[in-house]
Symmetry: C2
Subunit: 410 residues, 2 copies
């Protein structure tokens, strides 16, 4: 099946900056895709620190097991990603694939295997032909290039219809540093996290434990706010590599003022990538932003926002361009979080539709019709019990989703 580019895709792929200490190379392994690259090798300069967050699915793939294990070391020299067949539910053979891949890359990059990160995405439950990856690695090691970010962003895609990249600059003290990243994901997308891989890299010098704290925090407000279909992948991984080549004085903790600007830029890049994932949601015709305010806590607000963003009835109503506010309030109630039914308000596209738990006297459906016909839908719910707030991003649920996920054999 050939997929049409999502109508919600950004106009162009951004210029990813070259970042000192990071090089990429890509190639075709022949394991599944023809006419495109499907294995990516990244090399990081000696001294690169790393942080990672992974799927909360309790049945992770072997690469997630591996990365989690080596993360405590905090040093990264390489990253190998393959697309097409995910190394998931593959038993002992899957673990061996990871170990063999890490060992092969480690030899080429002159590092121990425990400094090599692995990620894998694609069909699950099929054996991964390890040699098709390891045979390719020597050539990739020769091809490593500092301007390979765009090719790498394309190489890791599966059912995605466009490559996703983002970048920003930040200051740490007087030093300007750069952050760049790319991601893939368009189905089996739900927080914690998604069939989503994201790789971020910066030339900042930041100790691994500080990096980890910043990544975890930003992840809660970015990738963990995105959902396509509520299904949580077994392979989700977000990795952040810091080469230290900017030679800023490494900050000692994540909470201080010295990293405030960096954290802001990191969140920007991650939010941008996360939203691009929702914009490429399988079958998406509309991008939906859900904003919840007035909840008991930020965490309660996020639970409510995701209940709305995951509701098939809300998502199909939006696909049908219907401002079906009853379904939105149903989803609030389904979340289980505290909300005041008789005080809550709902706006769609800025138009007040429900007020104090029933239809607003002022509401005319025609006022919201132009918004519903657009590609960017905004739902704002105030649940009237506290000060907690959160966002979630998703897409509508259309025939396209069924085509991709049910009709893929025809």
């Amino acid at each position: 099946m050939t997929l049409k580019k999502s109508p919600l895709a950004p106009a162009t792929f951004p210029d990813l900056p070259e970042i000192a200490g990071v090089r990429f190379a890509c190639g075709n392994s022949g394991m599944r895709y023809k006419g495109r690259d499907d294995v990516m090798l990244a090399e990081f300069a000696p001294g690169t620190t790393v942080a990672g967050v992974f799927t909360k699915n309790t049945m992770p793939g072997a690469p997630v097991d591996w990365d989690r294990k080596i993360l405590s070391i905090g040093i990264a020299r390489g990253l190998v990603v393959n697309a097409g067949i995910a190394n998931v539910f593959t038993g002992a053979a899957g673990l061996k694939t990871v170990e063999d891949t890490a060992t092969a890359a480690a030899q080429l990059l002159n590092a121990p295997p425990e400094h090599i990160y692995i990620a894998s995405t694609g069909v699950i439950g099929e054996p991964v032909p390890t040699e098709k990856i390891t045979n390719l690695l020597p050539r990739l090691a020769e091809d490593l290039s500092i301007d390979g970010g765009k090719s790498a962003a394309n190489c890791i895609l599966t059912t995605d219809t466009f490559a996703k990249g983002a970048a920003a600059t930040a200051k740490i003290g007087e030093k300007e540093v750069m952050i760049a990243g790319f991601a893939k994901g368009s189905g089996m997308i739900a927080p914690d996290m998604a069939t989503m891989l994201a790789f971020l890299y910066t030339d900042a010098a930041i100790p691994a434990d500080v990096l980890q704290q910043m990544l975890s925090e930003a992840n809660e407000k970015s990738f963990n706010c995105v959902t396509v279909d509520s299904d949580t992948s077994t392979s989700d991984s977000v990795l952040l590599f810091a080469t230290g080549r900017a030679e800023n004085g490494p900050p000692v903790d994540a909470s201080g003022e010295s990293l405030a600007n960096f954290k802001k830029a990191l969140l920007e890049v991650m939010t941008d990538l996360a939203q691009q994932v929702a914009r490429d949601g399988e079958g998406a015709s509309k991008f939906i932003t859900v904003k919840v305010t007035g909840a008991e806590s930020d965490s309660a607000a996020k639970t409510i926002a995701l209940a709305i963003a995951n509701s098939p009835l809300v998502k199909t109503a939006i696909a049908g361009e219907d401002a079906n506010w009853g379904r939105v309030i149903m989803a609030v109630g389904k979340s289980g979080e505290k909300a005041n039914r008789d005080k809550m308000n709902l706006k769609i596209g800025g138009v007040l539709i429900a007020e104090n738990g029933s239809r607003a006297p002022s509401y005319q459906e025609t006022a919201v019709t132009p918004h519903m016909k657009g590609q960017e839908i905004e739902l704002e719910v105030d649940v009237a019990v506290g000060n907690g707030s959160a966002f979630a991003w998703t897409c509508d649920l259309t025939h396209g989703y069924i085509e991709i996920n049910a009709d893929y054999r025809s």
Copy 2:
């Protein structure tokens, strides 16, 4: 939009027995539907006890608020149900609709309003024209008939494509008693509970507190195991009325041997109705039974079973007749419950597909192809950590669901 009858519908509507002490009447209110009845009045003989379980959605409709409030009295003389516009998110006006309806029915049945139960289903967020209901009630009170069960089962339908009924007999001591019931529901169906209304009635004499305990227990293993789209309705109600006309000696508690046979029959009727709801799931082309064994507890097993039954990726794969076992195991991991990835087994249609967490060496896809092409799909997962087990029932996710829920305006 005219809906085609679900291909999974039972061949015929069952013969609902006449049950002493219960009479029904139906009529058309003119509030939404043309050419069919949409308001139902039931009368219960003096002395009828009642039990109820309701949606866990925290934004319930006004009828649920009312029924919950009067349930502690434990006595029922009447029931009024309307279909087409659900009395939900209607504020103070909605509460008045309920009170006015209960008062009108109470006068006609010579009972206090607090003995009159109310239920409502249909579009949410629209005002309910109370008088269209109350004006109809005097005629319905005159038309009450002991053989009105089938008409009543039809009268309460909304997007359902067939009426759902079930009946059984049981013994309490030497007395034979009868249980009958009918239900509606086909979308916004998820445990706790569904846009699902079910009304059960028996001629047994059973105190209200005993009745309540039995209903709650049976509900956990029947209606709360059904899901169509994970969306939890605001109006779900299951009510059980016991007229006492069988003149059995009323049992004093629910746990004794004297009610064992009755409980079994009640669970049978409720399971039958619950499965009919899944068989009428919006757009359903296949009925899916999920069986989970080996979980830490029955409750953990149920969480896992429902995670599988609610997964859009599992449901679309089944719609596509693909035995995509990786998606099933993904859903197990998404549930958050304990499972042993490297020991778990999965069968589809009795064919062992995954063994010890990866593809079974014996597995050939052709072995399961005929099962996947059928209308009754069975998934069995053993998660290999304990002795807990549970069932869930659902349907596949097809273009029909999108048509009903997104294209309903076209």
